[in-house]
Symmetry: C2
Subunit: 291 residues, 2 copies
């Protein structure tokens, strides 16, 4: 796969790493960047992440073979609206958003006849850092990218977008947009909500400073994802509200079950619960290492 | 500080690292190990963590200057009961338990006239590994050790125990047993309960394998503490029940507040919550780095 012209909309961690990975693979000739912040685009140019800054959506689309949309998911609709009139007829569009049903709805509303050339994608390669400074050519190496093509998505567009993600070093897996959002509500959005909630709860207390002074390595790792971008996570939580609310309810019930064991002083039930969790996590870690 | 004879009861991660750290500091002449598993003691001897295996409590106490109790907290009382009749008159006892009110109650019940020589301690240096194989001389370097002396604890005993922990590379801070347990319910026991609960909740679902297959680095770090010893954490949770139950209730309420913002679609409130969490965590990380 060799792209002539790649346009990256939103040159941050996800967009910048996509450009760098395709350059590393020799899979792209020229990368054009479009974004809200001129300072960030200048930095991306200086770092060699992009080769050219587009002054507007029309210039960004000119001659593009592939467009990657890598903006907070709530900006998907307005951004597609700007791009749609200018997309070349054979240009494929993919994205890097962490939710997919809302992105698909935005594409359906904004892309019209161009919808078959949109290939929704979610690279599982977040980091608590953000911005082009954090971008790296190796971010996607060995990582999963979930694509959620629609029945009307063109097979050629799916092939092209998936080939680009594969050239970045990723493994591609397909899900429906709905199943994607259910799965990530459980294994990503809920943990983020829990980590943000714990840190905020402690920070809001009068004795917060004393409490934090005794927090150790376990707390640091447990809360790492609470250093993620508030703007990005606001959008993800709002976009995936129904599934996330179901997971929060399930978690509150599971936590209440643990509290019941505690109130009853049922040491055996607690030990069994902790053992099941440890065994499940250890098996998961092994399967991660094996693949 | 130079100890002639140190007795480590429970030669695992905490006890073994204590012995290795004091040996590294040249602060101990001979280390005696006592434990439930002969195979583990043989391993500790082969690794040079201990110099001698004690066949029973009486031999373990013979000539000891300092005894470290490093067993799951529920074993504190039965173990002190075995040791008490054999402790030399000037021998100091300290421990490594993650809860302190229950450990203090056990010492009050079992040590009688020897109570002033018991210095309750909690090194903040857990790891999800356990066992003597994981022990290292550097485990306590730069870490906090909380001691919770009682009004009747002898000042000379506190000095000796704290000097030993300091020789291990740790910084010592004092709290009351009650405040200790409140603080660690919030910053350690609650996060462990949340991590165990999340993994167990997902593992219990029919589609667990699919869910785990999409879990990424954020999930891995968030749940790292769910690979901790189920036996140890069962004991901690039971020992610190009242404070942990209060924290679980507070967390369920905080999570419900987040759910309310979600139900209301209040993106601004969500963003503010996430920002407060991120800023608090980033400040905490900076203060950790600074000290």
């Amino acid at each position: 796969m060799k792209l002539g012209r790649l346009t990256v909309v939103g040159v941050g961690l996800i967009g910048g790493s996509f450009a760098l990975a395709l350059k590393r693979a020799g899979a792209v000739e020229r990368v054009v960047g479009l974004g809200r912040s001129r300072a960030n685009l200048d930095r991306a140019l200086a770092l060699g992440v992009i080769d050219e800054i587009a002054p507007d959506a029309a210039s960004a689309c000119l001659g593009a073979d592939l467009v990657l949309l890598a903006v907070p998911v709530a900006q998907t609709a307005p951004m597609l609206r700007q791009l749609a009139p200018h997309l070349p007829s054979d240009c494929v569009v993919t994205d890097g958003g962490s939710t997919k049903q809302d992105v698909v709805a935005a594409a359906q509303a904004e892309l019209g006849a161009r919808l078959p050339y949109f290939v929704p994608a979610h690279p599982i390669a977040g980091a608590e850092q953000s911005g082009v400074e954090a971008a790296s050519a190796g971010l996607y190496d060995g990582r999963l990218v979930v694509t959620t093509p629609l029945p009307q998505t063109a097979a050629s567009a799916v092939r092209m977008a998936e080939a680009a993600w594969t050239a970045c070093g990723a493994r591609v897996v397909q899900l429906t947009p709905q199943r994607h959002d259910e799965v990530f509500a459980a294994v990503s959005h809920l943990p983020h909500a829990l980590a943000f909630t714990l840190v905020e709860m402690i920070a809001a207390r009068p004795e917060a400073q004393q409490l934090f002074s005794f927090a150790g390595a376990g707390f640091r790792d447990f809360t790492r994802i609470a250093s993620s971008s508030p703007e990005m996570w606001r959008d993800i939580c709002i976009a995936n509200r129904p599934a996330l609310l179901r997971e929060i309810e399930a978690f509150r019930a599971a936590l209440e079950a643990l509290a019941q064991h505690l109130r009853a002083g049922d040491a055996q039930a607690l030990a069994r619960l902790f053992e099941r969790a440890r065994d499940a996590r250890d098996s998961w870690l092994q399967s991660m290492g094996a693949r």
